[in-house]
Amino acid sequence: MRIELDINGSKREVEVEPRTTLLDCLRDNLALTGAHAGCEHGVCGACTVLFDGIAVRACLMFAVQAQGSKITTIEGVTPGPGELSPVQDAFCETHGMQCGYCTPAMILTAHALLANNPEPTREDIVEAISGNICRCTGYAQIVEAIALAAERMRGTNRPTELQT
């Protein structure tokens, strides 16, 4: 069946089977390979994308269910060729990854967190990423990356009345 998806700000038409997951559709039909398959049963979170700004598992949704909503993938938060978002840059600064497989999902989860909570505590960060399994890092440098990104984003273009 033919469906239209709103992906990273553009409308894309794709031909999928009703059983095609959003993850397979992103990877196989749209070549958006930053979303990764880890468990395909909703535990590891490697396939996380933003669905109207909320971090969701692309392996647990059918592509057809994504019609009418805004989907953001890691490709959509990267500002441009060779450029990094503040969150992506913070992950590089703290080395919040090793093999990189869970990383795009972690970064999208961090984007979702920071969009709603610009001053997360350590506990907030731990809670936010608890649905994303990282087997390499033990999470320490990921937590630090998100805290660093939050700090930097708070310090950027902040209205005067909110500056401390």
Binding site: E17, A35, L84, E93, H95, G100, T103, P104, E127, G131
Partner: protein, 796 residues
């Protein structure tokens, strides 16, 4: 400049690989889409042991989009069994079961179709008749041999070797005290978030098999070529595939032989990306399941003089690398302790469980649990503090280089000082007060210590130790550097990486030697047909071996630049000084040739080159393992790995007695891996190793039911630590440089994991000791612990 005089090494530099990963541009095997590639799904055996009576492929083959259905008979007829390393010809291992399937989940039939979904649909339509056979799951029962996993082998024993190093009987006879302990390490693994995957593509005109794989395996191309009966020079393994985690286990040789055969048979690229179930059940990626019987001889002061250890390994249905995982711990069999004599019996049996592969530490982490639990039990018997018992037994700083009974010389260390630093950071008495305060609140609470070694630099001497027919005494790694005609630098490495930051390692080391910004050094990964020898990133070896190769290749380049510069300046070679790309006259620093001049000479002005020198600026180095090169002696004494890193874990755990759920309150680790090349990478490795160790100690197990069915088939049953389970960990660093390596570096690829399970087990035992109970079986599950606590409380 660091204290040791380094400009780039040990400084807090970013990891260059990270830029591609944060934008989702890693190139993993599932991202490789070759034109016209077809997909494989597998039909697996539902019984732990069964004869394959008949296979009806017709319904599957009739489905649209299905190209082929391959069975084990055809594959066994066309390929050789997979390499095992042991002399066990009657235990052949093949990608698809041949005549008999020997574990539940073993691959029986491979279906090839246009898409993975169609292949899965068709796999369901394959009809297989089985005749269930008797099976055996437990290692000790397998040892009895009532049920044979491989009839023709005549027993279930793959390996049974006893080594005696030193005067064990005499030391036992002389010791006033003995203690026996049984410790069990449950079957777990590294379970990377990316499953194993491979794409194989045969070109019959060029006679090349292109292989893209999520692989971390020594001699991969060799094994593919041998099994498929094609020249290894016809196998082109692409090393520029990012591997989504491995930690030892990504050894998908059977997947590769299967897809390689199919691609040759069918004439198009064939792709097999495991789903999670295939990975956990039939992917042959389980890790050690080991039973230790330890007996130690010691005195009233707690000084251990001798140890007898039997390690019984349940390797599963076939010999992967698993039996060898009993061999590596020989290189650190006494841990950080001055135990004079050791008897070690290594036994590996086959059972009807999934085949094992190499796991982080290659058998060292389970061995360390056995050692460290023993130290705590000695302390408990004598009423001594476990720290005191360890301190009395530790090898002293002045003892290095220290040769252990099994023949390995530890390079360097200062274990007491590392421990001092940890307790300076977190005073022991304060931690005890904190524990006692928790106990006063009605909770169970315990402090766990673990002192552990990380043998590093991997030379695989356990192969020759356990199989005398193997005479390999080297395990090389290599680096090539080319400065192009414009003066830009490209270096090559010759293996895949799975998150260890090897491109950063190579760039940093070359930058350090040449005095140039490491980011100016492009690092590439040629395919296997364009590579120099590489042993791959196993055995915690790449900082030592790839770092060493890069160091030597860069020094050869520097030597060449010096020779060219001196010749062109008309000065003797000894007077020439190399500095950050330039060569100048020591007597007259103004008299110099800049980098661009030297490149100009090497590339275009052969008339200005020293006589008989090759033009261009290309150097390479193939690195031999430091301290390697000798076979084991007649008593099985062997120099195993060249370096030993040290870690000391200090853990406070609390347990709500009603739930039995251990919670880590404080975690400190003292860590000494010599000179760190990149501190961010070392820290990540250690933190990740601890997280993995927490999983192995508390959560992760490939459990089987009595019917031989694997009970952990998803991440809902096999529990990986999330951010909630991993506490904040503080690392206390110390640096004792290794005398055996180019920069004083040691390995850190397995750090954290080697001591965390032991430390956690000790903390839990300290917590439950007041109840008069102990636990020596890992993982220590909440349910088990809760039941044990409840039973003990009822008794009281």
């Amino acid at each position: 400049m660091t204290e040791a005089g380094h400009r780039f090494v040990s400084t807090d530099r970013r990891v260059r690989e990270d830029r591609r990963f944060v934008v989702g541009k890693g190139r993993y095997v599932a991202d490789i889409a070759l034109p016209n590639a077809k997909h494989v799904a597998l039909v697996t055996c539902p019984y732990p042991a069964a004869r394959i009576v008949s296979i009806d492929k017709s319904a599957a083959l009739a489905m649209p989009g299905v190209h082929y259905v391959l069975d084990g008979d055809e594959l066994a007829g066309a390929t050789l069994p997979l390499m095992t390393g042991l002399e066990t010809p009657n235990v052949p291992r093949r990608p698809l079961a041949h005549e008999v399937a020997r574990y539940s989940g073993e691959w029986v039939v491979a279906v090839v179709a246009d898409t993975r979904a169609l292949a899965e649909d068709a796999a369901e339509a394959v009809e297989i008749d089985y005749e269930p056979l008797p099976f055996v799951l437990d290692a000790e029962e397998a040892l009895e041999g009532k049920v044979l996993v491989h009839e023709a082998h005549g027993s279930n024993v793959l390996l049974d070797k006893t080594f005696t190093w030193g005067e064990v009987d005499k030391d036992f006879a002389a010791a006033p005290r003995k203690l026996k302990l049984r410790v069990k390490w449950g079957r777990s693994s590294t379970v990377p978030i990316e499953t194993f995957g491979v794409v194989s593509s045969w070109d019959p005109w060029r006679e090349i098999l292109d292989v893209y794989a999520s692989i971390q395996m020594p001699r991969y191309a060799d094994q593919i070529g041998i099994a498929l009966k094609i020249p290894v020079s016809s196998v082109r393994v692409h090393h520029d595939v990012d591997v989504g985690g491995s930690y030892g286990v990504k050894r998908g040789i059977k997947h590769t032989v299967l897809t390689g055969y199919l691609s040759r048979r069918l004439g198009f690229p064939v792709r097999l990306i495991e789903d999670r179930l295939e990975n956990m059940r039939g992917g042959d990626a389980h890790g050690p399941e080991r039973l230790f019987d330890v007996e130690v001889a010691y005195d009233d002061e707690g000084i251990v003089s001798s140890m007898k250890m039997r390690a019984l390994e349940n390797v599963g249905a076939y010999a992967g690398r698993s039996p060898f995982q009993l061999g590596k711990p020989v290189g650190a069999i006494v841990g950080p302790y001055r135990i004079k004599s050791v008897q070690y019996r290594a036994v590996a049996v086959v059972t009807n469980k999934t085949t094992q592969e190499a796991v982080r530490g290659f058998g060292q982490a389970p061995t360390n649990v056995a050692l460290e639990r023993t130290m705590d039990e000695i302390a408990s018997v004598l009423g001594l503090d476990p720290l005191e018992v360890r301190r009395r037994n530790l090898i002293r700083a002045g003892d290095f280089p220290y040769t252990i009974p099994s023949g390995t010389t530890y390079d360097s260390g200062d274990y007491q000082l590392v421990i001092d630093k940890v307790f300076k950071h977190t005073p022991y008495e304060e931690l005890k007060k904190e524990r006692d305060a928790l106990r006063a609140k009605g909770l169970l609470a315990g402090i766990g210590l673990a002192a552990a070694l990380e043998p590093s630099g991997g030379n695989a001497m356990f192969e020759a130790l356990l199989n005398p027919k193997i005479t390999t005494t080297t395990f090389m790694d290599s680096c090539r550097i080319n400065v192009d005609g414009v003066g830009c630098i490209t270096a090559t490495m010759h293996t895949t990486s799975s998150g260890q930051g090897h491109e950063t390692l190579v760039g940093t080391v070359i930058g350090e030697v040449l005095g140039l910004d490491p980011d100016l050094v492009r690092v590439t990964r040629p395919d296997s047909l364009n590579s120099l020898p590489s042993g791959t990133p196993v055995g915690s070896r790449m900082a030592i071996m790839l770092g060493g190769a890069a160091f030597h290749a860069a020094n050869k380049l520097k030597d060449k630049l010096l020779a060219i510069g001196a010749h062109d300046l008309g000065i003797p070679r000894e007077r020439a000084v190399y500095e950050r790309g330039d060569v100048y006259d020591r007597g007259n620093p103004e008299h110099r040739r800049a980098w661009a001049d030297l490149v100009q000479i090497a590339y275009r002005n052969y008339h200005r080159m020293p006589a008989d020198m090759e033009p261009g600026l290309a150097t390479s180095h193939v690195m031999q393992v430091p301290t390697g090169g000798k076979l084991p002696d007649a008593d099985g004494r062997v120099q195993m790995y060249p370096c030993t890193s040290f870690e000391f874990h200090l853990i406070l755990v609390k347990i709500d007695p009603a739930l039995g759920r251990p919670e880590i309150v404080k975690y400190r680790v003292g860590h000494d891996c010599g000179v760190m090349i990149n501190p961010k990478i070392v820290r990540g490795m250690t933190m990740g190793g601890i997280a993995h160790g927490i999983g192995a100690a508390l959560l992760e197990e490939f459990a089987y039911d009595g019917e031989g069915q694997l009970m952990a088939q998803s991440f809902m049953d096999y529990l990986l630590p999330s951010s909630h389970e991993v506490p904040a960990v503080e690392i206390i660093h110390h640096c004792t440089p290794s005398p055996n390596t180019v920069l004083g570096q040691k390995g850190s690829g397995e750090s954290g994991y080697l001591g965390a399970p032991a430390g956690i087990a000790n903390a839990i035992n300290d917590a439950i000791r007041p109840l008069g109970i102990s636990v020596n079986t890992l993982p220590i599950r909440i349910s088990t612990l809760g039941d044990m606590i409840a039973a003990a409380q009822e008794k009281k």
